[in-house]
């Protein structure tokens, strides 16, 4: 070996050693530069060689190339013109892989980055093309073509970058992923890792339809490869892997393919079905959801599945509710299977279910259409109680109630009462939370729900009565059907009366409820009548505005109101005299400062509540204006027209006795509780 050779050898050895020592990422970048030099160099050579015989892309697809240029130069997006011409250009590009490759080159003149930037640029072009099937296909074709051009490992590196894209770009990519998966098989081990990573990235987002369709397409177009993927997931434990494997297994099972596939699939399926660990068993069970949704669930299979779930561990039973419910929601399920599933749910749904199972059951029940609604209602009742913190479940309950109210009012009122009796306390807590059940309450307003509410008002249990009072107040009810009042016994009436004493109601509602009680109270003993009269007087003192107004409105019907008003008028007259006497005119040092502190805290609380209650305040950023009487906003390079400031105000009558005699009002509530207990209400 001469000295030159040994020098070269030594230099290469050193370079190799240095390269070995580099971090993996750095190695990838060097490799990428080498690949670009090579590919671009070859492409340049090809271009030079082809030039005389081939149309330049700029002449064959001018619109498309303009959009690509705008994309690479990061120009602002604007609506694509000549849609039909553009579509034509896209179709012809799709028909010619070479032109697609050219387009990739035009989009990435400096080479394809094996990083999220690739997808971001494709997505940018995708948006410029307009959101439609053609543009989806082109974006998919660009991805497919790029993967095809890259070495296998580089292709996987690029795909592995997909979960790192931010939202909404990631979800945009899922829409054209199917094109790639239909066209191209992936290395099974890579796919077994990659698909779950995409599921993980999707998380709880509901915009995952594109992915699952793509995965099903992959199974349909590359079933043998999909079986390999499934095998790779045989020891699965992660939730994402389970979801992917269940989809693959359920889809493969439903394929009407040759027996060769079934021969390969059967042992794998058996392996999952009989696995010792819960992960693969869950894959097997869940796979039936996909089979059912593809219309391939047989009665015998479903019976076997329900038996398997019933015999499973507690965890599997919990998951089983989700599986059965999802299966039953399949639009192509047979009526036999539906009946089997429904019967199983009716036999197994109970209050002890886990929140997740309850969610599955109630979500399913909320989607059941007649004639199965009464069964669905029974399922919801069986799953009670649902705790207030499980807001998702309550949303499904609300959905069910609204559906019922709109389509079967009689069933709605019946269910309202039953549901209240099943879970009144928790429902009331949810109803009292800001912005909860607004949809249902808005639908209930103006409907004749007084009968149902009346039943709740005079119910045996305290929580139902409280719920009844809530509805009475919130729905601005003014009456309860006569038949409800007529069949009341003294005890029930007294219970409702004392319940109202210890429940906080708005002034007008409080007055209206007392007016409702007047006729039945007149049938009661004199002691109770005396207590009732005192309550009328107290509430008139408590709410001299709204309560008095309601009483005045019904004055002619009920002379007792006249008497109470006269008594309270005398009270206020005396109060006026006392106030003018100067007896309480003195000030107390420190009170003005405390009043300021109180006002500040009060206004903070009001502002916070307003923010919690208002959809609009949540949507927009709040800007505190410092000067001026008008405002305008600079946004997207333009200044809006000036708007005038608007003033909004609302007022609420505070219960004055709560501030004059807070101890007395508390003791009154305590006394009411004692009376309720004495009346033998065991549910206290």
């Amino acid at each position: 070996m001469n000295s030159e050779t040994s020098k070269t050898f030594e230099s290469k050895r050193q370079t190799r050693a240095e390269l070995r020592a580099l971090p993996f990422g750095e190695k990838l970048r060097i490799l990428e530069r080498l690949r670009e030099d090579l590919i671009i160099g070859l492409a340049d050579q090809r271009k030079r060689g082809d030039e005389p015989t081939r149309d330049s892309p700029s002449t064959t697809a001018p619109l498309l190339l303009d959009l690509v240029k705008e994309t690479t130069e990061h120009e602002p997006r604007h609506r694509a013109e000549s849609t039909s011409a553009l579509k034509e250009e896209i179709e012809s590009t799709l028909a010619d892989p070479k032109r697609t490759a050219d387009l990739v080159h035009a989009l990435f003149p400096n080479g394809v980055p094996l990083a999220p930037e690739f997808f971001e640029r494709v997505n940018d072009l995708h948006l410029r093309l307009g959101w439609n099937e053609t543009s989806n296909r082109l974006a998919g074709a660009l991805l497919d073509n790029t993967i095809g051009q890259l070495k296998a490992e580089n292709g996987e590196t690029l795909l592995a970058a997909l979960p790192r894209i931010g939202s909404p770009g990631f979800f945009q990519t899922l829409y054209y992923l199917g094109f790639l998966l239909r066209e191209r098989e992936l290395r099974p081990q890579f796919a077994a890792d990659w698909f779950p990573s995409l599921v993980k990235r999707i998380g709880n987002d509901s915009a995952s339809g594109g992915f699952w369709k793509a995965l099903e397409a992959y199974c349909e177009f590359h079933p043998q490869n999909a079986v390999e993927v499934l095998r790779c997931l045989a020891a699965t434990r992660d939730e994402e892997q389970i979801l992917v494997a269940a989809c693959v297994l359920g889809t493969l099972r439903s394929l009407n393919t040759d027996s060769a596939l079934q021969r390969v699939l059967a042992p794998t399926e058996l392996e999952f079905s009989q696995a010792a660990t819960p992960g693969p068993r869950a894959v097997y069970s869940r796979s039936w959801i996909h089979t059912a949704w593809r219309g391939k669930l047989e009665k015998a299979d479903f019976v076997a599945l329900t038996s398997r779930i019933s015999a499973g561990t507690k965890e599997e039973r919990d998951q089983g509710f989700g599986i059965i419910c999802r299966v039953l929601l399949s639009p192509v399920i047979s009526s036999d299977c539906f009946d089997i599933g429904m019967a199983w749910l009716q036999a197994n749904v109970s209050s002890s279910l886990s929140p997740a199972s309850k969610y599955s059951v109630i979500e399913f029940a909320a989607q059941v259409r007649p004639p199965g609604r009464s069964d669905a209602a029974a399922l919801i009742l069986s799953a009670q109680p649902v705790l207030p913190e499980h807001k998702g479940i309550w949303q499904r309950v609300e959905h069910f109630l609204v559906e019922l109210l709109q389509h079967d009012f009689a069933a709605f009122t019946d269910f309202l009462v039953k549901f209240a009796r099943a879970n009144a306390a928790n429902w009331l807590k949810v109803l009292k939370t800001a912005r909860e059940f607004e949809w249902l309450l808005s639908k209930m307003r103006g409907r004749d729900v007084a009968g149902a509410v009346g039943q709740l008002l005079f119910d045996e249990t305290a929580q139902c009565r409280k719920l009844g009072l809530f509805f009475f107040d919130d729905l601005d009810l003014a009456a309860v059907p006569k038949e409800v009042l007529e069949r009341l016994d003294e005890r029930r009436l007294a219970l409702a009366f004392y319940e109202s004493q210890r429940t906080s109601l708005h002034a007008a509602a409080n007055a209206r409820f007392l007016i409702v009680l007047i006729p039945p109270i007149e049938r009661m003993n004199s002691a109770m009548q005396g207590e009732f009269y005192n309550e009328l007087v107290l509430q008139l003192k408590n709410y001299p505005g709204a309560c008095r107004e309601e009483f005045l409105y019904r004055l002619r019907e009920f002379p007792i109101l006249q008497k109470a008003i006269a008594e309270v008028d005398a009270y206020f007259e005396q109060l006026k005299t006392a106030s003018e006497s100067g007896l309480a005119a003195m000030e107390v040092a420190g009170a003005p400062q405390a009043a300021k502190l109180h006002a500040r805290r009060f206004s903070r609380t009001v502002a916070k509540s307003a923010e919690e209650m208002s959809v609009f305040i949540k949507l927009f950023r709040k800007v505190r204006l410092l000067y001026g009487k008008q405002w305008s906003t600079f946004h997207d390079d333009s200044l809006s027209d000036a708007s005038s400031l608007q003033q909004f105000s609302s007022s609420v009558e505070m219960p004055r006795m709560e501030f004059i005699d807070p101890e007395g009002m508390n003791l009154r509530r305590y006394q009411a509780s004692v009376r309720i207990r004495e009346l033998g209400n065991t549910t206290e």
């Binding site: 003192k541 109060l575 005299t577 100067g582 003195m586 000030e587 400062q593 009043a595 109180h598 807070p662």
Partner: protein, 611 residues
């Protein structure tokens, strides 16, 4: 205040004045020459001859030593036509004083003025007014009449001569009609007192300005007036000053209660003079002021407002400040309770031993005030809302008002209601905090306004609860045991009626307080909260909590030990009502002996509660 009252205190004051103001070794001797000077000014007369050199705002006018020739002061009318000559005498007009004290000689000289003097040449009428700030007898009047007739009706040929005689009543009337202004006071107080009058007119009673400006100024005035060696005249000046102040507060809607507040500070200063003085005149003046001025004023005030006191929620405060208003209402209610209580117990301690009619009248008055108090308690929830530990003073007054009439049922009903209301707060069922042991109203306000108790808020210790437990011993045993059990188990230990802890509440430490030995000398001047000895009553163990009787037994032992270990003696000559007022104004806890002596009898006897 009635005209009679006003007149009588003005009379007291004017009668005590000397002829001329002068500084003496014992202190300044106030004279009514200053009053005459100001009356003349009020009548728009121009001074011609004054008995003093007028000084600056804060100086005493210096008396002239020149011969006066019978004329103490002379004034000319604006039109220069009338010359008014005052002949002043601080003696009664009698046969013996007529010549002895120069009534005769001075009138003669005054009737012959030198009208050739500069400024008197246009005079057509000469008025000679004999003013004496004492009474007279018939002979004295006859001597005056005879003399004036002898002196004729003319000076020279053309000038008319007229005589007038102002005795104490006339002078008082003149003052009441025309001179209820700061000018009535001796000149050296004019500046500060004028300022006080304007503050009284402007500041609302109880406001920050009232508390931080007017009250310190008023107390400074009182200190100036009643400094060492204060004589009867100085004491007599106090009601006059207060009457003048009152005239200035007509437009102030809080003047009535505010004025009572000022009277109370004045009374404490006066009682302080009383305790230091052996002068019977001074002591009598203080007594008269206490009974005839302060207590009479209180009685008259509540007589006029008894209907409003009984009006349901009549003490309600509505400034739209939420529970801040609730706190203010309680403070207002407790203010009235204190005054009614002082009035009631003052009637009690004045009960004479012999005169049946007077005794019946006083008993009637005691019942009247007790009924006012009952009406207030029944009509106003705020009256059952003590906020500070020091509110034990007002609660004591309620107890004492009922106790001195033997109204056990009222005491029981009141304590039961109070216990229930306190229980609501102890349980945290309202935003109102429990009793503030540090007696800081600021902390209470902060706790209510922010719904967060400040760090310094102290509700772990209470003297008030111990006081209530001790008052329970004034009731029949059955009621006593019921209340002791309720208060101890529920309020002190913080448990509900079923014995379960109220949230995370901890037992409250009960504290007794024994004043320092010399408390009687100090209490009229300052608060004693930082002096004396605190006695902690350890929380009872489960064995001691069987029932009210067992718990009461422990308290009885504690009281006996406490009394024998630290004896409290009461200052001689100081009524209990004054002691309570002093504790109230100086924010000082009450010595427990105030009720222990009544309930358990004198210490030496070691007896059971007397019922």
């Amino acid at each position: 205040m009635s005209i009679d009252f006003k007149t009588s205190f003005l009379t007291y004051y004017i009668r005590g004045l000397a002829e001329r103001t002068r500084a003496e070794k014992k202190g300044t001797k106030f004279g009514f020459d200053w009053i005459i000077y100001n009356l003349a000014l009020a009548e728009d007369l121009i001074p011609h001859r004054l008995p003093f050199f007028r000084g600056g705002a804060n100086e005493i006018s210096k008396t002239k030593t020149e011969a006066e020739f019978g004329i103490d002061a002379a004034f000319v009318s604006r039109d220069d036509k009338v010359l008014t000559i005052f002949v002043l005498k601080d003696e009664p007009l009698t046969n013996s004083t007529w010549t002895q004290n120069d009534f005769d000689a001075d009138l003669r000289r005054a009737a012959a003025p030198d009208l050739e003097a500069s400024g008197l040449k246009s005079i057509s009428v000469v008025r000679v007014i004999l003013v004496y700030n004492k009474d007279e007898d018939q002979t004295g009047i006859e001597l005056f009449e005879r003399q004036t007739k002898t002196l004729g009706t003319k000076v020279g040929d053309n000038v008319q001569l007229r005589f007038e005689r102002w005795n104490l009543t006339t002078l008082t009337e003149e003052v009441r009609e025309r001179l209820l202004t700061p000018s009535l006071l001796p000149q050296r107080f004019f500046s500060l007192f004028s300022y006080l009058c304007s503050q009284f007119a402007d500041f609302r009673h109880g406001s920050d300005e009232w508390t931080n400006q007017l009250i310190p100024n008023w107390r400074r005035f009182l200190t100036d007036l009643l400094s060492e060696n204060a004589d009867e005249r100085a004491v007599r000046l106090l009601p006059v000053a207060l009457l003048i102040l009152r005239e200035h507060g007509i437009e102030n809607p809080t003047a009535q209660t505010g004025w009572i507040d000022l009277v109370e500070w004045a009374m404490l200063s006066a009682w302080n003079v009383h305790q230091a003085s052996r002068n019977s005149g001074v002591r009598l003046a203080v007594h008269q002021m206490w009974v005839g001025f302060y207590l009479a004023e209180l009685e008259q005030y509540y007589d006029g407002h008894s209907n409003e006191l009984a009006a349901r929620d009549g003490l309600e405060v509505n400034h739209a400040a939420g529970y801040v208003d609730t706190v203010v209402a309680a403070m207002v209610a407790f203010w009235h309770i204190a005054r009614l209580g002082i009035l009631a117990i003052s009637f009690g301690e004045r009960l004479p031993r012999g005169d049946k009619n007077e005794m019946a009248a006083l008993k009637q008055a005691m019942r009247k005030v007790a009924n006012w108090l009952t009406a207030l308690l029944n009509a106003n929830p705020a009256a059952l809302r003590p906020l500070l530990d020091l509110h034990h003073i007002e609660l004591f007054l309620i107890w004492r008002t009922f106790w001195q009439l033997g109204r056990s049922n009222d005491i029981f009903a009141w304590l039961l209601g109070l216990g229930n209301c306190l229980m609501v707060r102890r349980a945290g069922a309202t935003p109102l905090p429990f009793l503030e042991g540090g007696n800081s109203l600021t902390s209470v306000f902060e706790a209510v306004a922010t719904e967060e108790k400040p760090l310094e808020f102290c509700d772990q210790s209470s003297m008030l609860l111990l006081c209530i437990l001790e008052w329970c011993f004034s009731l029949p045993i059955q009621e006593r045991d019921r209340l002791v059990e309720l208060y101890y188990k529920q309020l002190v230990l913080g448990r509900d009626s079923e014995g379960q802890p109220l949230g995370d509440s901890q037992p409250i430490d009960l504290l007794g307080w024994v004043p320092p030995e010399d408390w009687g000398k100090k209490i009229l001047i300052k608060g004693l909260a930082d002096e004396g000895e605190s006695q902690s009553f350890e929380t009872l163990g489960p064995d001691a909590l069987q029932d009210g009787s067992t718990i009461a037994g422990h308290f009885e032992k504690f009281i006996r030990k406490s009394r024998s270990a630290r004896k409290t003696s009461f200052p001689e000559g100081l009524p209990i009502s004054v002691v309570v007022l002093a504790c109230l104004k100086h924010r000082s806890p009450l010595p427990a002996e105030l009720w222990r002596d009544s309930i358990f009898g004198p210490v030496a006897q070691e007896c059971s509660p007397s019922r």
